[in-house]
Amino acid sequence: MRKWKLLPGFAVKGVMLNGSIYYPYIISCIFSVFTYYIFASILENDLIATLPHSEYAWVMLLLGKILLIPILIPFLYYANSFLVKRRKKETGLYTLLGMERKHLVILLLLETLLVYILSVSGGILFGVLLAKLFFLLLLKLSSLPVEAEFVFSWKALGESFLFFAAVSTFTFLHGAAGIFLARPVELLSGNRKGEKEPRFLLAGTAAGVLVLMLAYNIVFHAKLDGNIFLDFFKSVFLVIAGTYLLFIFAGVAVLRLLRRKKRFYYRPENFITVSGMYYRMKKSAAGLANICIFSSMVMITLTCTAALYAGLDGIIEFAYPYETILTYDGSNLPRREAEEKLSETAEKYGLSVNRLDTYADFWVICGREESRVVKERPGIKSCQIYLLTLDDYNRLTGKSETLKEEEVLLYSTGGKYGNNYLEFMGTDLNVREVQGPLTPWPCAGRDCFGEAWVLTVKDDQMLQNLVKVWEAGSGEEAMMADQVKSGIQLTGPEDKRAAFQEELKEWQESWTGGMLSVSDGLEGGQMIYAMNGGLLFIGILFGMLFFMCLLLIMYYKQISEGYEDQGSFSIMQKVGMSDADIRSTVRRQMMMVFAFPLLAALIHSAVGMYMVNQLMGALRMFDTALLVKWGILVAFGFTVVYVSSYWITSRAYYRRVVL
């Protein structure tokens, strides 16, 4: 059987001769395998489990690996369907020349195998070479000790092989189904037929607008509460759906309108562009929607990553305003003694003290209805209220406020309160709202969970009165009255600071004078680094992945339209269109085509920033200004990169069309 021997040669030739479409596909497959392998091999690394706090980074990575699958499979399927379509004619010719379907399927199998071998070996080669680098990147981002050793994992290797084998099987079955279902005539004639206008244009457009409005509505009303992640995924899904609907239906509706406006349509500069877009309206609309969606994903991912990285110190400061806080019973341990213990220990390790505060730590949980503070009950907003004496307040802030009877200073860590009175369990108080910073209670500047109020009252007497009011109103007993906190902020080398923490913990263990707790802000900070390091790592890899998807979609769009338009432009040249006309038409067409997705993506991202701003709150990142700054920087940078990649990929189009 000679012909069986021919087939492998055909497969290799088929891939090589169609290099302009196969190579980018193979490259993106390599990158996909690479990403998957990196995630898998770091997850398989035993050492990560032995590093302190690395469990957070590990969980993030696991999440990332799971998320890779629903992102990679549809994307590779899309890229592959493009390959199948491009080679239809060739398949048709082979059929005509006497190849049977089984031969074609074997040919396809061989090609799939070739692509599989190339991409898996390439991806794993890069993976093995660079895994250690990425491992170190993860450790660095997570502020984990870098001396950890990276161990090569066979299991990760096998997993990557299997994962990609599954993807390839899937794409192969898709291609094989195409061969069995198509008739040779259809294969040969390719796709000269234009697309039919989709029906229900107006309804579709309206649905698109509605879905998008719904999504934006969710975004604008998102609050940092338990539903935020659900809201996030809901709005992402709706934005994607709305973008597709809008690009397809509204796009076609606009094109139809333009075609009907004779004075516009029959102008040399519009004629070819509009008719060409109308001819393949659905396909190009879907392509543009893809470009728009991936652009938005790239921008949002990068903004989050950059802002998170830049805001890490702020997050730690927010969660741990003091590096160490002693909480103790003021009647057993005098304030002065506690402060002395802290400053003496700091001195012992050569650490300089930035701040040392002591204040009475007294808080109650209430319910909040507008300007009324009531007993907490389900269905109303709960609010933690700290009660502070004016003395403590002035010491903490360094101000010298004075207060009248029945007057309180109100400081909110959430949104602004905005009233000058407050009904506290039936007692009327005059309120003077004050702005931060009030050091132990960093301000988020907006409503979020864990929102607290700090009420500063004139003196201890007044404080006791309010406690009684609260006890009467809530029917509960107040906490220990004389609980005190002393917090210290330090600068110095990290090992010295760790030793400082150790000594305090030992002191606490040997303490017998009643309640005493030591909170370790250093360790807490390390935990935050570890957790966010994993997130950053995912952000960087996913940002790269999304960008690669975007590039490939752009490139395929350009090249497939280049193939289709090749003939048209040579006809137009014969009929009397000059090279300059063709160039300007092409430029205009591509500008229009690529400006829309960018514009829509910028709008999506800008709106998305509202949601991101809320989501960042879940990570205790409340620096909106920082986020906006990075959002603008990323949008600007992305626009530059987008335009240049458009410029580069459009050369693939020019090369086909303009000779």
């Binding site: 000269r192 037929k193 234009g194 004779k262 004075r263 029959y266 102008r267 040399p268 004629f271 070819i272 008719s275 060409g276 109308y278 001819y279 003939g567 048209s568 006809i571 137009m572 040249q573 014969k574 009929v575 009397g576 269109m577 000059s578 090279d579 300059a580 006309d581």
Partner: protein, 259 residues
């Protein structure tokens, strides 16, 4: 009045590698009067297509002159050539060359749109032409929805709508069956009788017998020509056929001598 004059046109192709030269046209001379219907015949490789490309200003002669209304095509600047083609020439191709992306009507409008004409003017021009070419009922359809004959009549309509000085037709019946060919040729003849000058390259005797004059090209130069005069198609058909036979026997003889 002489519309087209071809004087001592030569075309030499040089192979990309080496010095091998191919002489495609070797001293071609003829002229076309206004209102004439001229067919050019010859075997494959005789230089017909090269000649047509030079006349269409798609290619340039190595030496010699092509004058359209006394104007030398070689003197027109490259960037003005497109406009020149658009304004003075109309094309009908063997494979129709209609754009798949446009419906028939827009395909016909294409040269007018490129020339920047007003839409009202376009509408005014297409009406009588589409009726004459019997395509007025398919104007809204797309090329893939109509037959070959209809496509070629649409292409003819596109060539005529610019009111060109000269129509250049390259094997216009090459892709059509005999019935569609007959219909197209009849229409072209009708258009010619109304004063349109047509130059057609073909190797179909049926097509050529509709022309007023037939030029025969052999080995890159005009070998012979016959006029229809007052004779009918059948006589013309026979005359062309005879000439071709002579051409072929001569070719055979030459081949034998060479052996």
């Amino acid at each position: 009045m002489t519309l087209l004059e071809v004087k001592n046109v030569k075309k030499v192709y040089t192979a990309r590698f080496g010095a091998a030269k191919v002489q495609a046209l070797n001293d071609v001379n003829f002229s076309v009067e206004e209102g004439e219907y001229v067919a050019i015949m010859g075997e494959s490789g005789s230089g017909k297509t090269t000649l047509l490309n030079i006349l269409a200003s798609l290619d340039r002669a190595t030496s010699g002159q092509v004058l359209l209304q006394g104007k030398d095509l070689a003197q027109i600047r490259r960037k003005d050539l497109c406009k020149f083609r658009r304004d003075h020439l109309g094309f009908i191709f063997q494979d129709f060359n209609l754009l798949d992306t446009l419906n028939i009507k827009d395909n016909i409008f294409l040269p007018l749109v490129l020339a920047g004409l007003d839409y009202q003017e376009m509408e005014k021009r297409i009406l009588p032409l589409s009726v004459k070419l019997e395509i007025s009922d398919i104007l809204e359809k797309y090329p893939y929805e109509v037959s070959g004959g209809q496509k070629q009549r649409a292409a003819a309509c596109r060539a005529l709508i610019t009111k060109p000085d000269l129509i250049l037709a390259d094997e216009p019946t090459g892709a059509l069956d005999s019935r569609a060919s007959g219909k197209l040729l009849g229409l072209l003849e009708e258009v010619n009788q109304e004063g349109q000058t047509i130059l057609m390259v073909t190797h179909s005797i049926q097509a050529a017998s509709h022309a007023g004059r037939v030029l025969f090209i052999k080995d890159g130069s005009v070998f012979h020509q016959i006029y229809k005069g007052g004779q009918g198609y059948d006589t013309m058909y026979r005359m062309i056929s005879d000439t071709l036979t002579v051409l072929q026997t001569e070719a055979a003889k030459t081949a034998e001598v060479r052996k």
